[in-house]
């Protein structure tokens, strides 16, 4: 086949220029996120502290190294993880509105956290949320992950019986209501202090992740995204529907289980550390598909990581309300950003089913 002939065929590669631009944007947002905050720090000091040099004053260095850097890295992990989780859900259910939070997986994580607090409630003072130690936070993550996995398995069991995705989605939402009501019951009988801790957890926070916890979070997100990336080809086949996928040699059962594992790990760990952060998981995959105009998961998974990270950093920048010493709850900001994205994509495409 001659070279000129092969040029007339559509390429399958990503838009490299766009990817480069997004990396630049990520870098800019990352630096901005370190730069902006209630305390003014010069860019020189930020740069110096970032590389661990002693030239910056101690307080500033501590703020950068112990607070802002972990927070910015957390934002990147959370954005990437939730986006990949949402992408997998949307493809598995072939439903454009699927995402960790819509299908009740986040509520499951909340239930796990609430149950953990209930069990440990007797020693509430020791286990207060703000000062959970690393062992405590591992417990928290475990509880959130188990809660998320429980709901996900229920959804999956139902999905074998129910072929209709809309019905399944409604069931997921109902499941969310059930877990929320269980949490309400727990709250009704709980100590006001615990309830407040729980409420603050539900607002979402990128700031509660210390450097040690960051390691756990990055391992969880890393494994989750890695599994998803290995599943790229399988996810592509699922776009054609289960029967076609099987006809192309896909082992559906195994694939489903791996997708569950990856998504539960991603959602569970992120919800555990940062609270139930909504909308990123739904909005970013749509944004990525529409920016790159592709349905190929080999491109979509890395690029939705990238876009998710950028958007999460952006949300964090907005949440800090530059110039003010207070910060908005991150969950409010993601919804404010995410909902319009979904609306725009719907209006542009008219038919979301076609965006897959």
């Amino acid at each position: 086949m001659s070279k000129t002939d092969s040029n007339t065929w559509p390429g399958l590669g990503p838009k490299w220029g766009l990817i480069l631009a997004l990396f630049v944007l990520l870098f800019v947002f990352f630096i901005l996120d370190l730069l902006l905050g209630s305390v003014q720090i010069s860019i020189g000091d930020v740069w110096a502290s970032l590389w661990g040099s002693d030239s910056a004053p101690r307080v500033e260095r501590n703020i950068i190294q112990k607070i802002r850097l972990p927070k910015a890295l957390t934002a990147i992990l959370v954005g990437a993880g939730l986006s990949v989780g949402g992408l997998q859900m949307q493809t598995l259910f072939r439903n454009p509105l699927a995402g960790p939070s819509v299908l009740g997986i986040s509520s499951g994580a909340s239930l796990g956290v609430a149950l953990l607090m209930f069990v440990l409630g007797g020693s509430g003072a020791i286990w207060g949320f703000a000062n959970l130690e690393i062992s405590g936070s591992s417990l928290l993550v475990l509880a959130a992950s188990l809660g998320a996995a429980l709901i996900f398995f229920l959804i999956l069991l139902l999905s074998y019986r129910i072929r209709d995705n809309v019905v399944l989605l409604i069931l997921g939402i109902m499941m969310g209501f059930i877990t929320s009501s269980l949490v309400s019951i727990w709250q009704y009988f709980s100590d006001p202090g615990l309830i407040q801790d729980y409420l603050i957890w539900t607002f979402g926070s990128l700031g509660g992740v210390s450097r040690e916890k960051l390691l756990i979070l990055s391992i969880c997100v890393g494994i989750g995204v890695f599994i998803a990336f290995l599943l790229s080809k399988a996810l592509n086949m699922l776009l054609l529907g289960e029967n076609y996928a099987r006809g192309l040699g896909l082992h559906i059962q195994q694939t489903r289980i791996w997708i569950i594992l990856s998504t539960s790990l991603l959602t569970g760990s992120i919800v555990g550390f940062c609270g139930p952060i909504g909308f990123i998981g739904i909005a970013v995959p749509h944004l990525t598909r529409s920016l790159f105009n592709t349905s190929d998961h080999r491109i979509l998974i890395p690029t939705s990581c990238l876009i998710g990270a950028i958007i999460m950093l952006g949300c964090d920048l907005i949440a800090q309300l530059p110039g003010y010493s207070i910060a908005l709850p991150i969950n409010a900001v993601t919804a404010l950003i995410g909902a319009p994205v979904v609306i725009v994509v719907i209006l542009k495409r008219r038919n979301l089913q076609r965006s897959f």
Binding site: M1, S6, W9, P10, L12, L230, S232, K233, N236, M237, L239, L240, G241, N243, Y244, R246, G247, L248, G249, L250, H251, R289, N293, T294, S295, D296, R298, N351, Q353, R354, S355, F356
Partner: protein, 330 residues
């Protein structure tokens, strides 16, 4: 002699419900085989059981003498490719869709080698989709979409292709185009093709052989003409008010006879006049004295003329609709 597909004592159905059992059939290499039968006879179930999309209840399926059950899904994907009834409405473009046909041959990354690309491009050219290669699936017509799925199956490079109702949503020209494409694939590429189809007339025209499935789970195999001569097709597709016309090879609505007509003339004009009269419920007769009236058709310089003779009176018409309108009124 090993057949590309052979089924032995196959039993198919859902759970406790057996749809068909003791099926012993085979497909010859390079033939276009149509599976026909009334709605609900179990055509889809049979195809799904053969391709192991659905669990069979008993018996065995052999591909080139090899037991299908012992193959992994990936091995199977290199032996049978599928075109199914489900509609794939996606932003995937034709090229990406067809490239998925190579997935059973690629590593987990799905990276395409030059050889894979050659298969993809050939499949697209073969199905006449070259111009549409970068078009997303949701912008395709039903016929183009079906061809894209066939291109995917071709790229999969399997000796056997199964298609479930590939012509279901297509109009007649598209339907015939698709079927002749499939026929060409059996002739030019040596593919063996098994498809289910509910368009009996098309199947009888295009199939090398037919599997005729009745409502009771029995399957009769044979060449189409033989099954008609044996009266099998007529029996299975019999219905009140419907008659299989052995002359034309198609079904006709039966209506109570209004009057007997004797027709004189020849050629195309006669054939279509007869069709119009039958549609309106008139009956033809061979004997002029039996007929209530007579119609004779003449053609002059590509113009037809109809002469109606009734009660010894003659009347001329220059169009078929005028003739029919006159008959309807009187």
């Amino acid at each position: 002699m090993k057949h590309p597909l052979q089924i032995k004592d196959l039993c198919i159905g859902y759970g406790n419900k057996i749809i068909a059992k003791d099926l012993n059939l085979h497909v010859e290499k390079g033939e276009l085989l149509c599976l026909i039968g009334p709605n609900g006879a179990g055509k889809s179930t049979l195809l799904k059981s053969i391709s192991s999309l659905q669990k069979k209840l008993g018996g065995s399926v052999l591909l080139n003498g090899e037991e299908l059950e012992k193959m992994s899904t990936k091995e199977l994907a290199r032996k049978i490719s599928l075109v199914l009834t489900e509609r794939v409405d996606s932003n995937l473009n034709v090229y990406s869709l067809v490239s998925m046909g190579r997935y059973p041959y690629t590593a987990w990354t799905g990276r395409m080698k030059e050889e894979d690309k050659a298969f993809i491009q050939r499949a697209i050219k073969e199905t006449g989709l070259k111009e549409l290669a970068s078009r997303p699936l949701y912008q395709l017509s039903d016929g183009e979409r079906q061809k894209a799925m066939i291109a995917k199956a071709l790229a999969q490079d399997t000796p056997l292709i199964l298609l479930d109702e590939p012509t279901a949503h297509l109009d007649i020209p598209n339907r015939m185009e698709l079927l002749s494409l499939l026929r060409r694939l059996t002739r030019a590429e040596g593919k063996t093709i098994l498809l289910s189809i509910h368009d009996l007339e098309a199947a009888l025209q295009i199939a090398d052989r037919v599997w005729l499935m009745d409502g009771e789970g029995k399957i009769e195999a044979g060449i189409p003409e033989e099954l008609i001569l044996k009266g099998k097709v007529q029996k299975i597709f019999s219905a009140k008010d419907l008659e299989f016309d052995m002359q034309v090879g198609s079904f006709r609505l039966l209506q109570s006879s209004r009057a007997k007509v004797f027709i004189e003339g020849m050629g195309i004009g006669k054939i279509w006049t007869i069709r119009a009269l039958l549609r309106l419920g008139y009956e033809l007769t061979e004997k002029a004295q039996e007929a209530r009236f007579e119609i004779s058709i003449e053609s002059k310089e590509d113009q037809y003329q109809w002469r109606l003779i009734r009660h010894q009176k003659e009347q001329e018409f220059t169009s078929l609709s005028a003739l029919l309108g006159y008959l309807e009124k009187s």
